[in-house]
């Protein structure tokens, strides 16, 4: 057998991949062959036990007797290994005696086991011969590794028991059905699921907080913003629906609020003028987020629940994930020091400015999409137009009387239908609301343009960690300015200048 091809992934990446694969197997657990899964499960437990063993001693503080501190879950791993051995023997007996059968091993489970074996091999190869005791970071990372191993075994056990239960309930009357083996395997693997579950409940996902994180890809946020911008414009220009507007409004609300956090951290790091941030940019961003929040609420109520286009949702999900990766420090928001350890803060500022430039453009497209062709929920329209008419004084610029205004609203006969076209009465109102978002986005961009603090930028690398040369992010505003899409940098009127 030839040697496996070189794999550049880290131990952490192999573990995440293994966990993801068993999670994916949950999708079609009942359709998988129970016995193939049981055989694969034996492999998964064997590999997990080997990986578990390879971690032994890595996070032990030196003791007088040189002994090892017992780790939570170690007994459980031994018990599961014993169950796996029993299931293996039972299957081996049945496949060699009378009524022998051959069954393939589930490929997903083999792959999961392979990932754990590969990780164990890497740990063994790079294990230090002697240690003066682990650092707190190393100890936390190893505990997180144990928790992730146990969670993978837990999910693998669950998938296997679902597949075995399905075979038992659907196929037990087939000729030569190995019901005895199914039942025995189900009992033992079910017991292992309970053992792993006990460990998982104690440490998952809390223990993962100590897990080592690889550096964030420097251009991920900028790439996600570009992809979102393209998909949002595409969705607005191609048969938009109320659900399109609802979803875009919510993502823009999210983007504005994430922007508030990013800009605050940039101000804390001394990268932008703090007074201009406090006096102009922060209130403008808050206003923008509120406008989009209101739009989300209004369009959420009007949307008759049509599905949102897949590419738009995928781009929104990636933008959220790229943002979370930078802004979340486990369960809490990241501070400036954490953020600077993940990305080059100085390069982040132009990315944020570019985000605001695209937000202005998108808010225009959003406003211009609102017309009477959009299908909306009749009950919500009825409530909204009644509210509008109640607040109107007659005569006004558009209508002389209430009857005239009502004639531009939704007919009552539409109340029982699933959806109705947005009536002209509400088009003007909703366009007016959307225009507030345009103004708020424009104000935010204006406040963010020229906010960089040039002298502080020179000192930044020393204070907040090494800058990455040639980071391919955030040149949007400069590029747009160069081609004349946005005006010259406005005069800065903050007290600091």
């Amino acid at each position: 057998m030839s040697a496996p091809p070189p794999d550049g992934r880290s131990v952490g990446e192999l573990l995440v991949e293994a966990e993801q694969q068993v999670r994916d197997a949950l999708h079609d657990a009942p359709d998988r062959a129970g016995l193939a899964m049981a055989q694969g499960w034996i492999e998964v437990v064997g590999a997990a036990a080997e990986l578990w063993g390879s971690l032994r001693g890595l996070d032990d503080a030196p003791t007088a007797g040189g002994g090892e501190t017992p780790k939570p879950g170690a007994d459980g791993m031994d018990q599961m290994l014993a169950h796996a051995t029993s299931v293996q023997r039972r299957i081996a007996r049945a496949s060699t005696g009378q009524g022998a059968f051959a069954t393939p091993v589930d490929e997903t489970m083999v792959e999961v086991a392979g990932l754990h074996y590969r990780a164990a091999d890497m740990v063994e190869r790079h294990k230090p011969r002697a240690t003066a005791g682990p650092s707190p970071e190393l100890a936390a990372d190893i505990e997180a590794t144990r928790t992730r191993i146990m969670h993978t075994v837990y999910v693998a056990s669950h998938v296997t028991t679902v597949a075995l239960s399905d075979d038992l309930s659907r196929r037990s009357r087939e000729a030569n059905a190995p019901t005895g083996i199914w039942t025995d395997a189900l009992r033992r693997i079910g017991a292992s699921e309970a053992i792993a579950g006990q460990h998982v409940r104690q440490g998952y996902p809390g223990a993962l907080q100590g897990e080592h994180r690889d550096p964030v890809h420097p251009s991920r946020l900028a790439d996600a913003q570009s992809a979102w911008d393209v998909e949002a414009h595409r969705a607005l220009s191609q048969a938009p629906m109320a659900s399109t507007l609802r979803y875009i409004a919510r993502v823009e609300d999210f983007r504005a609020r994430a922007g508030m956090m990013f800009w605050r951290l940039a101000a804390e790091a001394g990268l932008v003028d703090p007074s201009q941030h406090r006096v102009r940019l922060s209130p403008a961003l808050e206003n923008m987020a509120e406008r989009w929040g209101k739009a989300t609420d209004v369009w959420g109520g009007l949307d008759p629940r049509e599905p949102v286009a897949g590419p738009l949702k995928a781009a929104g999900a990636e933008l959220r994930a790229a943002t979370r990766e930078l802004l979340h420090d486990q369960a809490a928001p990241a501070n400036a020091r954490v953020l600077s350890s993940r990305t080059d803060l100085a390069a982040l500022v132009p990315t944020l400015q570019n985000s605001l430039a695209t937000a202005v453009d998108l808010s225009h497209a959003f406003r211009d999409t609102i017309d009477s062709m959009l299908l909306v929920k009749p009950k919500a329209v009825h409530a909204l137009q009644n509210e509008q008419i109640r607040e109107m004084a007659f005569p006004n610029r558009r209508w002389a009387t209430e009857e005239e205004a009502r004639a531009q609203g939704m007919p009552l006969s539409s109340l029982g239908s699933q959806s109705t076209p947005l009536p002209p009465l509400l088009v003007a109102t909703l366009r007016g609301q959307a225009h507030q978002s345009v103004r708020a986005a424009t104000e935010s961009l204006s406040a963010a343009t020229g906010i960089e603090r040039r002298p502080a930028r020179q000192e930044t690398p020393a204070r907040w960690g090494p800058a990455r040369a040639g980071t391919p992010v955030g040149t949007g505003v400069e590029r747009l300015r160069a081609v004349g899409s946005i005006g010259p940098r406005p005069a800065v009127d903050g007290p600091a200048r």
Partner: protein, 120 residues
């Protein structure tokens, strides 16, 4: 060995369809309630909750026959707690054994439980 046969497409029972529709409606309500929440102290959490409830609604609808969620249009925000609505949806998932539901139910349950845990 039994001879291979072409498998009929899985059609969930009437009871499973009823439960799925009820779950979809609860996710729909949770999404609308989360969208209507005032930003308060945790605006990002509310937004993430709305995104998750929205994704869960899509997943629930995709398991219904024809991928259609025949809402009667009566679902609207009334100030209910979106997490409580998702908890009710989670309780409904155990009303029948997993094999009575279409493919994707296991993933849906994991996603639902993760959402309740992360956003509560």
């Amino acid at each position: 060995m039994p001879s291979p046969t072409i498998q009929e497409p899985f059609v969930p029972s009437e009871e499973a369809q009823r439960i799925l529709r009820e779950i979809a409606e609860l996710c729909d309500r949770a999404c609308r309630e989360a969208d209507a929440l005032p930003p308060g102290d945790r605006p990002m959490r509310n937004l993430e909750l709305a995104f998750d409830a929205d994704d869960l609604l899509d997943e629930a609808i995709s398991m219904l026959p024809g991928g259609v969620y025949a809402s009667d249009g009566s679902v609207e925000s009334v100030g209910a707690d979106p997490i409580a609505l998702l908890r009710r949806a989670e309780r409904l998932t155990v009303a029948l054994p997993i094999e009575h539901f279409p493919r994707g139910m296991s993933h849906f349950i994991v996603h639902l439980i993760d959402t309740i845990r992360d956003r509560a």
